[in-house]
């Protein structure tokens, strides 16, 4: 009965307020209210500011060095289009690779080219003072690898990446290849990242260019990922390939999940005669690596797309691991293709992120014999037909026809 509130509520005073009043706030009503509200506002301000500053004050103690590429001191690039000064090719041919790097004599008697990661770029003042053409060419060759694109307001989403070879190709072909990439990239606001193959020789254990050629591709892609950290996709195009249809934007033509779905090779052996097959239910929107099969059902590395996230980086870093790179992948053929095929067969997590597509969408094989018969091509998905994104001249080195095929096709590209 005692707990029941009294019916005449007006006169009764609650236990709480009695206790409160006895606490000494016996001044007038408004005074205590004011006092309390001031405290409340103060507490609120304290809370607001403490949550602002607390985390920052703690984290100042931690600082890690910034990410860097092969060189520690880097130069910010002013343009999205990063390519070397190709007019230096004749001089570079004279200088040769041996003249560009320091050679170190190893204990076992072999000679190795060495790259100096701490090397600084040549300043403009030094360039002005130098009259020696060879030194200028050399420094421009070495400093080209230090260029990184760090502007955020104009960052490209896709970067077209190509390697060029000043030893085995003449100036005319190199200019055509570089111009082709630049034309394409400018049309779609993409970035371009082109470097000499010879820039990566010192990184390799086997410094024979012909033997290690394929494994420079992942090194190059990694450098591009670093040079354009905000780019989402890296599109690697071999130098023995041309982008023929400059109007096709990668996002609309390939990266759109619906369209990628149409080009997918589902439930086919990952490489020819493999027991491991590509997934039947592949989530195209999660594709991080897009790579075509060639006509034989093996991985074709002449043109492929890799996402610039940890999935893409994992594949590229794995391919650049010396243990994998120096494995005996067989005497002939595309070693990189074997290595990628191996990785995809043994690592389902990566296979689940890899879209294996028909060659037509990324790298149609150019066949000179078909081209002469009729301009329209064969019509199958492996060979180049007019309107395809890229024509690959794979095998032209052994045929010795790279220069002629590239210039023949280069003149067919419609530039509007």
């Amino acid at each position: 009965m005692a707990i029941k509130p009294r019916t005449k509520g007006k006169t009764s005073r609650s236990v709480g307020s009695q206790w409160f009043n006895s606490l000494s706030f016996k001044q007038n009503k408004y005074g205590t209210c004011k006092f309390l509200s001031i405290i409340a506002v103060f507490v609120y301000i304290l809370y607001f500011f403490s949550s602002r500053f607390y985390p920052n004050s703690r984290s100042t103690s931690v600082s890690y060095p910034p990410s860097h590429g092969l060189y520690i001191n880097e130069i910010p690039a002013s343009r999205r289009l990063i390519y070397p000064q190709v007019e230096h090719v004749p001089v570079l041919k004279q200088v040769t690779v041996r003249g560009l790097y320091i050679t170190r004599l190893e204990i076992d008697g072999s000679k190795r080219l060495v790259l100096k990661p701490e090397e600084n770029a040549m300043t403009d003042e030094e360039k002005k003072k130098t009259t020696d053409q060879i030194i200028l060419v050399k420094s421009s060759f070495l400093d080209h690898g230090k260029l990184v694109y760090r502007r955020n307001n104009d960052a490209p989403e896709v970067v077209v990446v190509t390697l060029i070879d000043f030893e085995n190709y003449d100036l005319e072909t190199i200019i055509q290849v570089v111009q082709n990439r630049v034309d394409y990239a400018q049309k779609h606001q993409y970035g371009v990242y082109i470097r000499y193959i010879q820039e990566f020789l010192p990184v390799l254990e086997n410094q024979n260019l012909a033997q290690s050629y394929e494994f420079i591709k992942p090194l190059m892609i990694r450098a591009a990922m670093h040079a354009f950290p905000t780019a989402k996709y890296i599109h690697f195009v071999d130098q023995d390939a041309l982008l023929m249809n400059l109007d096709l934007s990668l996002q609309k033509y390939l990266l759109d999940p619906k369209i990628l779905d149409l080009a997918l090779q589902k439930n086919v052996p990952v490489v020819a005669n493999s027991n491991i097959k590509t997934y039947n239910h592949f989530e195209s929107s999660l594709a991080k690596i897009i790579i075509p099969h060639d006509a034989n059902g093996n991985i074709d590395t002449s043109s492929f797309v890799v996402a610039n996230d940890f999935h893409g980086q994992a594949l590229i870093d794995y391919l650049s691991d010396p243990l994998l790179r120096n494995y005996n992948w067989g005497p002939e053929g595309d070693k990189l293709s074997y290595a990628i095929g191996h990785i995809l067969q043994w690592h389902p997590t990566l296979l689940g992120k890899t879209a294996i597509v028909i060659p037509k969408v990324l790298a149609s094989q150019y066949d000179a014999s078909m081209d002469q018969e009729g301009e329209s091509g064969s019509g199958d998905v492996y060979h180049y037909n007019e309107g395809d994104l890229a024509a690959s001249f794979k095998g032209c080195r052994s045929r010795g026809t790279c220069a002629s095929e590239i210039s023949h096709m280069y003149n067919k590209i419609k530039r509007t």
Partner: protein
């Protein structure tokens, strides 16, 4: 006789009758109830009007209390700034899996401090038990006892802090030996456990020969809240393997997803933490590769540990997300392990510093596992005895 069986319910139900009676009852007291509600409402309004001050004061005190008790647990490096380049957005295609989220969430972020039991623990302890399972030889009494003590120790710890505990049986570890793959079961178990607890945020792997010496410390306060100050990511302070301290393309603005320790011989995987993420799943998949392993299995004596060292040495995507905890934070050694470095305080359990975990690594190679386990169990009990237990168990 009709076709309706005897036990079938009659078509008439009592419901309507009941309803009528109910209504009659409620009708009688309806006006009283309404009056009561009105009365209470009025009383409450009156009360509120009269005691604004006290309500303000009480809510203020309540707020202060919640704030202070809250900040006591959430002192975490929620926004860590780095000198390096801004981390690139990993989320390539919108709607892809949550791997791209860049925020560092402490593992207890969603756990209420006051809940005693949660269905989805944010931290799961994986205890590897029953190695060999007595298949090749009998398990002796001491081995059974060690197992019992070790499991009990982890169980009590997990219960105390609301973590999950899963005990993984290594009976089949010998199956891996025909491929020179002993030790690789760890990777398979981890992959399986990651699938088993999809909502967990971190996993803590513990070998059987370990003892949590300070059960009162939570992993949050001991590790995750002070990751920034605890972790070494660049091998600056300790590099027993002489790995290259700096390789190209390593990006330290990535968050750490794999916390391991190093002992005198290199990486130690007797006690480590791995985050439940896409990156971890990829690492666990890439860890073992026949091409790498074929070349090295004769040299890689510690199998998965050596393989990880090789990957760490050369691959920036792995190096970017690994952090090294000091050995003594989660993996202190007894004097018997790394005994050639007996003067080095970085390795060994210190009673004075109240180290968190002892790992009796390698005790079955010529040392006395049972003796060590007994010693540390007694020590743990002694150190963690409450003052009032002295009255009852002097």
């Amino acid at each position: 006789m009709s076709n309706v069986p005897y036990n079938s319910p009659l078509p008439v139900s009592n419901h309507h009758l009941d309803y009528d009676e109910d209504e009659k009852k409620s009708r009688g007291s309806k006006s009283g109830l309404r009056y009561k509600i009105m009365y209470w409402r009025k009383y409450l309004a009156n009360y509120l009007a009269r005691s604004k001050k006290s309500i303000l004061l009480i809510s203020l005190l309540l707020f202060l209390f919640i704030w202070i008790s809250d900040s006591a647990i959430s002192r975490s490096p929620s926004t860590t700034s780095f000198q390096g380049q801004n981390s690139n957005d990993n989320q390539l295609i919108k709607g892809s899996s949550g791997s791209g989220s860049r925020r560092y969430l402490p593992p207890y972020s969603k756990r209420s401090r006051w809940s005693f039991w949660n269905k989805d623990p944010k931290i799961v302890i994986i205890l590897a038990a029953n190695e060999g399972g007595g298949v090749l030889r009998w398990k002796n009494e001491q081995e059974w006892a060690i197992e019992g003590i070790s499991i009990e120790n982890k169980k009590a710890y997990a219960k105390r802090h609301g973590y999950g505990l899963t005990i993984k049986d290594l009976t089949t570890s010998k199956r891996y030996s025909h491929e020179y793959r002993e030790g690789w079961q760890k990777v398979d178990i981890l992959r399986q456990t990651l699938r088993e607890f999809p909502n967990a945020e971190w996993f803590w792997w513990l070998d059987l020969d370990t003892m949590i010496m300070e059960p009162s410390k939570s992993l949050e306060e001991h590790i995750f809240d002070r990751l920034d100050t605890l972790v070494d990511r660049e091998l600056k302070s300790f590099n027993p393997l002489d790995l290259r301290p700096d390789i190209p393309y390593v990006n330290y603005s990535e968050e750490m997803e794999f916390l391991i320790t190093q002992d005198c011989g290199g990486f130690n995987l007797g006690s480590f933490m791995i985050k439940n993420s896409e990156w971890s799943k990829l690492l666990l998949d890439m860890w073992w590769d026949p091409v790498l392993y074929e070349q090295k299995h004769m040299i890689w004596e510690h199998r998965e540990q050596d393989a990880l060292e090789a990957l760490y040495e050369n691959e920036p995507w792995i190096r970017s997300r690994i952090g090294f905890l000091p050995l003594r934070t989660i993996n202190a050694f007894p004097p018997g392990a790394c005994s050639e470095y007996s003067g080095d305080s970085r390795y060994f359990y210190s009673e004075k510093d109240r180290d968190f975990v002892v790992n009796m690594a390698g005790c079955n190679f010529g040392r006395d596992c049972w003796g060590e386990m007994q010693y540390y169990t007694t020590l743990m009990e002694k150190l963690n005895r409450k003052w009032y237990t002295k009255f009852f168990f002097p």
